[in-house]
Amino acid sequence: MSVALKRSPLTDSAPVDWRQRIYQVMNSQAFVALLFLLLPVALLAALKIWPVFYNLYLSFTRYELFEPPRFYGLKNYSYVFTNSTVRQSIFNTLLFTIEAVPIGTALALVIAKLLNQSIRGRVFLRTLYYLPVVSSVVVSAMIWRWIYSPQHGLLNHLLGTVGIPPQNWLNDPNLALISLVIVTIWGSIGSNMVIFLAGLQDIPRDIIEAARVDGANALQNFLLITVPLLRPVILFVVVTFTISIFRNFGLIFMLTQGGPFNRTNTMVWEVYQNVFGYLRFGRGAAISVVMLLIVLVLTMISFRVLRDRQGA
């Protein structure tokens, strides 16, 4: 018995020339764009996204490198929140951020404002402020180690000329973190200043002029016109500066190694200690997950406080 096949509209139409179709697809801009995107997306996935998820996985395991990771439940997170050294590292990191970010951001903004004027030597001064950014962290740290040296340091020598006794900058538990904050601000002013300069040059001059005509003095102009208009730029600087402080490892490694009395023991130093010192990868991973969450929360707070209300 023969069965008559029902013809569909598709089969009724003329046969598709697949080779022509493939040629069309390959010849399309979208295909070329996709090919170009493939490499960066693959790299991004392999080097950025995959490690984040692998780190998350490791945080639930006990992994010491020479044996495969084994499931460890929430013990690593329990360690993070119960171990006094890790808790102190969280506190130190937050204190570091609270001390460095507002002061560093404000200083960079003021310097950018000053260097946005038509003053003699403007380019030289901008270069001078930017120099620490292009200096290696190691070189900077070595220079600051000498500046802070209790017996032979430049800073104590200068203080001595005005009768202030020498301080043990990096070994006094009350001064060590502040000493690191000073170096961090010194190292970051240049890059933040450049971002603020770009923002300042984006502010329409007619608004500033209009305010001046209305009787606003320089300080009022700065506080009531410039700063509000720079809100998105300030937000950007605050967020990136906060992240950079959470990742600040080189200075601590070179200058204090977390001491004295664990006062400069930050989260990133604690991650390093656990991973490379004790090969406790799971603990290191858990601390970095907590660190990521704290950065996210701080970023959200920054957005809430500093977001452009008009745009919101």
Partner: protein, 432 residues
């Protein structure tokens, strides 16, 4: 025009090529150590210009001369980043065939199976005189019966003193006991109010380094006849009376007798505190002599070593640095050949002489480069104790460092500090 590449075609080919190349690169396996082809890789952490010169101009060329066709690639690095470099090397499966390691590395390497046991090679090698290495050093690299490394250097710490300063204070001879030591330290200390011009005894530097205190502290524990860990390595022994005696003596030096500052004085660059005449006595290795010869030649006739002090016992500490053969080497026998060559008597002499290192071979005691001072340091070997063979010593040292800071600063009583350190260390041990 036929045959001419359009811009779009060019971009397409470029994109496709880069994609293929990246996929291919991702698929490339790491290059494992290739000792079998006579291509050796060696990680050297004991870096200094003279050591590098000794290797590049004498040791490696001699090895290649004696092993035609062989070549050695040396990766020079330093202690600051060495641990991370080796950890990532093992994690990624790209390790050197032979690598240097520090004083606490043997138990770690054994536990992780990262070092090839050398017993068979040593036993089968009739020319290799293992007994030329002192028994204490052999024991230090032997973990549960497996010889996992060969020593290349021992850092024996003993008491160095400034003869002139002691003579000015009325002491013709260096101290031999803790009581004498205290008397000399008190007589040689020079203070200007709270500030020290000269520390009678320099305990540790001011530099930001968490290891600065526990290293010299362990020597005082040895002198008190105390221990860091119990013999079976399962418990911390720092809360025992002898270790406490050591810490109480040290705290008294800082707080009561004020003969050493805490944190200590800062070295002037490479010039350490004793060589810089800011201290009268310091526990140090033969490196002191190297520093004096290089940076303070005027002090060559004033600074001398003497044998270790006697507390409850006469004792000191020795850091034994070693060479390992990586478990990832493709030819352990060939790599042993390189290690064996580097640590044989004549090459070890070249190496040790280059940096005034204290050699680990008994037959080098009378080597030409060994000065009279160096021989005194070497005499200390009989009093030397090494680290306990626990695989996680670095983690165990951290609580001591934290508690020592508290005790030496006068914030915590020595007994409480050691009890807290013991408790923290026992917690880590229990978690193993």
């Amino acid at each position: 025009m036929a045959g001419k590449l359009s811009r779009r075609d060019f971009l397409r080919i470029a994109a496709a090529s880069s994609t293929v190349a990246s996929v291919a690169l991702i698929g490339v396996r790491p290059i494992a150590a290739q000792a079998d082809a006579g291509q050796f890789s060696l990680a050297m952490v004991d870096w200094s210009d003279p050591v590098q010169t000794a290797f590049e101009e004498t040791i490696i060329p001699r090895f290649m001369e004696e092993n035609p066709g062989a070549s050695v690639t040396v990766n020079w690095t330093n202690w600051g980043r060495y641990n991370e470099e080796m950890t990532t090397a093992f994690a990624s499966g790209v390790t050197p065939d032979v690598f240097q390691g520090g004083a606490v590395w043997a138990p770690q390497m054994a536990r992780r199976n990262w070092a090839v046991p050398l017993n068979d090679f040593i036993n089968a090698d009739e020319e290799w005189d293992w007994d030329d290495f002192p028994a204490g050093l052999q024991a230090d690299v032997t973990i549960r019966g497996n010889i996992v490394a060969v020593p290349y250097r021992q850092d024996l710490r003993t008491l160095w003193y400034n003869k002139e300063m002691l003579a000015e204070a009325g002491f013709d001879d260096p101290p031999t006991t803790w009581d004498e030591f205290l008397a000399v330290a008190q007589a040689t200390t020079v203070r200007d109010g709270d500030a020290f011009d000269v520390e009678g005894y320099h305990f540790s530097d001011a530099s930001g380094n968490w290891q600065r205190d526990w290293q010299p502290f362990l020597m005082w524990v040895h002198m008190a006849d105390g221990q860091f860990l119990s013999d079976d390595l399962t418990a911390c022994a720092l809360d025992q009376p002898k270790a406490l005696e050591a810490l109480e003596f040290l705290v008294a030096l800082v707080q009561e007798h004020e003969v050493t500052s805490y944190p200590g004085l800062d070295p002037q660059g490479d010039l350490n505190v004793l060589a810089g005449r800011n201290a009268a006595m310091q526990l140090s290795s033969a490196d002191m002599e190297r520093v004096i010869n290089l940076y303070a030649p005027d002090e060559q006739e004033t600074i001398y070593p003497t044998l270790p002090l006697t507390g409850n016992v006469q004792a000191t500490h020795s850091w034994v640095n070693k060479f390992f053969v990586s478990s990832q080497t493709s030819d352990a026998a060939a790599s042993w050949g390189l290690l064996r060559f580097m640590t044989r008597q004549d090459m070890l002499e070249v190496y040790s002489a280059s940096n005034n290192n204290t050699p680990p071979r008994l037959s080098l005691l009378d080597a030409e480069y060994m000065s009279e001072k160096h021989k005194i340091v070497l005499e200390s070997a009989v009093y030397a104790r090494t680290f306990p063979q626990h695989h996680n010593l670095i983690a165990l040292f951290r609580p001591i460092a934290a508690e020592l800071e508290q005790a030496l600063s006068g914030i915590k009583a020595p007994a409480d500090a050691l009890a807290d350190a013991t408790s923290a260390i026992n917690e880590i041990l229990a978690d193993e």
